[in-house]
Symmetry: C2
Subunit: 341 residues, 2 copies
């Protein structure tokens, strides 16, 4: 039987706040009888969504009121100085205190990162937490990290990212020996600067399934489960991919309105095109993992809807059940000891 899990939810974050996060939390409770949730946010915003809830669900919800919310555009350093008592701060603190097993927020990503690091702390052997997300590929999906939490990394950080991604893909997705690649401008061993060369050397000698340097197209081609890079690169790859996909979909929509044949195509093909777009729906895999902390922290997309938010909550519960943080610490220790000897 799976472990009971207590989720701390920052209700204030995201584009829709309580209107999405509370119903999503209720859905998550419906789907998982061993789940309980602690909601952090403005009581008056939350209460309406709890009205009429059956006792069996209501009993698994606790509510901690705070009117303080970290603004979406607040600078991380400011959130660190002034964020105390905010819904984000309290939700993270619940994980730090052991009152919750995982925290989910759709709020300010920069603030989430600095507050999580400050309140929960990093694992032994991990210098910096990393943000990891899921990208679709021809053969399934590929994890990409770091997405912007770390800019200007050293070789050991890349190695730590590789460990984090491996543990997550193995534990959460059940992938046997996930294939890990390092982003470079070419696949040849000779390519890349000293940082990449040195990370590649450590990874080659590690117990990880390191497959070598990979290029940008490998992310989507499949054949690699975890793609590791500096946060600047990951951030720009993620955003440019989102921009390209949006442009292609929107251009197709425009083409489908030009003339009777195009409109007929749109009409006949509506379900086909919907299935095609849905295949790449980020909502189905909503939730970027902030890895390397002494607890599970998941960033839900700011614009995530109810179903996508429920998904992020379920993924956070699964990550906690599979003990991703402890497993990262164990694996990174093995590699560090190997490098030092």
């Amino acid at each position: 039987m799976p472990d009971p899990i207590r989720l701390a939810v920052d209700v204030a974050g995201g584009d829709y706040g309580a209107a999405v996060s509370v119903p999503a939390a209720i859905d998550a409770l419906d789907q998982d009888a061993l789940l309980s949730v602690s909601l952090f946010g403005d009581e008056s915003a939350i209460r309406p969504y709890l009205a009429g809830l059956p006792a069996v669900s209501r009993d698994r919800i606790t509510l901690t009121h705070t009117a303080i919310a970290v603004p979406m555009d607040q600078r991380p350093a400011r959130a660190l100085r002034h964020g105390r008592g905010s819904s984000l701060w309290l939700a993270l603190e619940a994980v730090a205190n052991g009152d919750a097993d995982a925290c989910v927020s759709a709020g300010n990503t920069g603030a989430l990162m600095v507050l999580a690091r400050r309140l929960i702390g990093t694992l032994n052997g991990i210098d910096r937490p990393a943000l990891m997300s899921w990208l679709p590929s021809e053969t399934g999906h590929t994890y990409l990290l770091d997405l912007g939490a770390n800019i200007g990394v050293r070789a050991e950080h890349l190695v730590q990212f590789a460990v984090m991604g491996t543990v997550f893909a193995a534990q959460v997705d059940g992938i046997d020996r996930p294939a890990v690649g390092l982003v470079n401008v070419g696949r040849e061993d000779s390519k890349g600067d000293n940082i990449l060369q040195s990370a590649a050397r450590v990874l080659s000698e590690s117990p990880l399934n390191y497959i070598g340097f990979v290029e940008g197209n490998d992310i989507y081609q499949g054949g690699v489960n975890v793609v590791v890079c500096d946060g600047m690169i990951g951030n720009i790859v993620l955003k440019s991919s989102e921009g390209l996909a949006r442009m292609l979909f929107s251009a197709l929509n425009t083409h489908l309105q030009r003339g009777w044949r195009a409109r007929l195509t749109g009409w006949v093909g509506a379900s086909v095109l919907r299935r095609w777009v849905a295949q790449f729906d980020p909502g189905a895999h909503n939730g970027a993992a902030l890895l390397g902390l002494r607890g599970v922290v998941v960033k839900s997309h700011g614009g995530a809807d109810r179903a996508a938010t429920t998904n992020a909550l379920s993924r956070a519960a699964l990550e906690a059940r599979r003990n991703v943080p402890e497993n990262i610490e164990t694996l990174v220790k093995t590699i560090t000891e190997k490098v030092e000897t």
Copy 2:
């Protein structure tokens, strides 16, 4: 009347060699009465494509025989030591000697870059040549540089790239005051390391139309004509975008074969979908510019077909007619003097 232009063509390069480059050169001559071409490569491979050519075209073609070709996978350093007398070397030398106004090659990109730098040399005020290409956007297209010629750039290199891209977009595309952006993980002025901060400062005070930091999605959203970044980032953005587009198109094809409704959609919508894909056809804009040299050098895609290769040749001729190198030197001088005073 436009100036007469002499193009030096490395016939050996690319996936198809003379079979594509010679017919493409003939097409380019047909389209532009003031063009002449010098073909560099194996005479026996070239001759068959020249047979039966009317004198009016034949008279504008010269042929320099060499059996030496730089292998597509040869390391640049090796090409530099052993490439003398190869078709690529001779074509670049023709530009260096003033026997040709521009060189086009579909060969080994790394070799092209080091040989071009060695034989043609960089412009005053330019430390390193950069590779620039075209990406489609919602409002037209965006130039992205550097694409991998320069990894680990300093601030002054980013400024030089901005100058090169501006001159190209203004002169070749006729864009009035092209908007230039620097790739960063966010648009806020405070984001980014010292290199980005310092490049942004110089660009803000320059005569360029610098619009500030841009994110990955801005490349495809439009609103910026020239996007400047380190070669590592440009390379990975370009390749991941190619990979994503390929995956989306191929997944749509798969969906269009599942069931009668899907097949009907594919049948009715064939022309619509073709127009949609064609809108993003890189062939129509084939040719990455190697900028910052004392001459025009264009890299045609290795897999480019006849029409795409003709396009690269015409673009190279246009770049030479518009004096892109001289204009880059003039503009970079203005900015350097401003910074120094």
